[in-house]
């Protein structure tokens, strides 16, 4: 049963990677790619590489996902028929909530089976779940029917963001409540700093220059040409 936690993370990550490539809408694909990055950082948390995991969250989930979403916004959906599921609107939201609660129940069952402390899950649910659902419904029902789809999108945004936040809180308190993972290797921040600044110092500087060049090139490529009079 040692493999259950990494197996769950692996299933989540594989699912998100497949969704990123196969979902019909490009926006959902980009969001799934963000989920894939989160799964990777969960892997890093599991491997005790905390600094790398936080770095992954910051750079990939925080920066690259948003960048990709902006690019998708500029490009727009592909011209083929836009997808619409069989469940529209509120039905879909209800289904989503039902699925989420099923997932939470499953997690509670699983964790109690594994003799893992249940506090993290309850922390996440109690602190974040009701607030998020409340705000989502307020936003959903405040919208006029004409702009319903936009408000629905915002509601999904609130739900998704709070879900990510809840899972983050859960993972953090889960990690805090664990004695230690397998193996005796401990992570020392001093080692990382030494290796980044002393051993690979020159590489670090070159990388900074490369990043600056990439940012400059990206801006130069994507800048709108001035209108010729």
């Amino acid at each position: 049963m040692d493999y259950l936690v990494p197996l769950i993370i692996l299933a989540f990550t594989l699912l998100m990677a497949l969704l990123a490539l196969e979902s019909r809408s490009l926006v959902y694909g980009a969001i799934s790619l963000g989920g894939f990055f989160i799964g990777l950082s969960l892997f890093f948390f599991y491997l005790n590489l905390y600094y790398l995991a936080v770095f992954q969250l910051l750079v990939y989930v925080g920066a690259i996902s948003v960048l990709i979403l902006f690019a998708v916004m500029v490009i727009g959906e592909p011209s083929e028929k836009p997808p619409h599921g069989r469940l529209g609107g509120l039905g879909f939201l209800g289904g989503l909530l039902l699925a989420l609660s099923a997932v939470f129940v499953g997690l509670v069952l699983l964790f109690s089976y594994l003799n893992v402390p249940l506090d993290p899950i309850f922390n996440s649910i109690l602190y974040i779940g009701p607030i998020a659902v409340f705000f989502a419904f307020v936003i959903l029902f405040r919208g006029e029917s004409r702009h319903r789809s936009r408000y629905r999108f915002r509601a999904f945004g609130v739900l998704g963001a709070s879900l990510v936040f809840a899972s983050f809180v859960g993972v953090l308190s889960y990690l805090g409540s664990l004695p230690s993972f397998t193996g005796g290797v401990t992570f020392n921040l001093v080692d990382l700093a030494d290796s980044l600044l002393n051993q690979y110092g020159l590489l670090m500087v070159v990388l900074g220059l490369l990043l600056a060049a990439a940012a400059y090139g990206a801006v130069a490529l994507a800048k709108k040409e001035a209108e010729e009079p």
Partner: protein, 102 residues
Amino acid sequence: MNELQFFVAASVLLFAIGVYGLLSKKSAIRILFSIEIIINAASLNIAAFARFSPYNLGEAQSVAIFIIALAAAEAAAGLALIIEAFRLRGNVDVDEMDELKG
């Protein structure tokens, strides 16, 4: 199966998904997604080997952090190229980008 094998297997699976997307997708943005997936699989591989080898974790993490920074640069430049291609042609279908074909 020890834990290192598990993580190498996970990394191989993710890499396979990335290669599948790289070969089968027509939209340039999806191809960029696939490249990101491949890079992340490689980074997971390095992290797993770092975790289960007797060296210190700082050094291995710095290699993975370099990978992340390089991927960020690649994503920025790639997205700018895609936007420019979209502005020139009106779509991002890589099958139609054949101007360099002799």
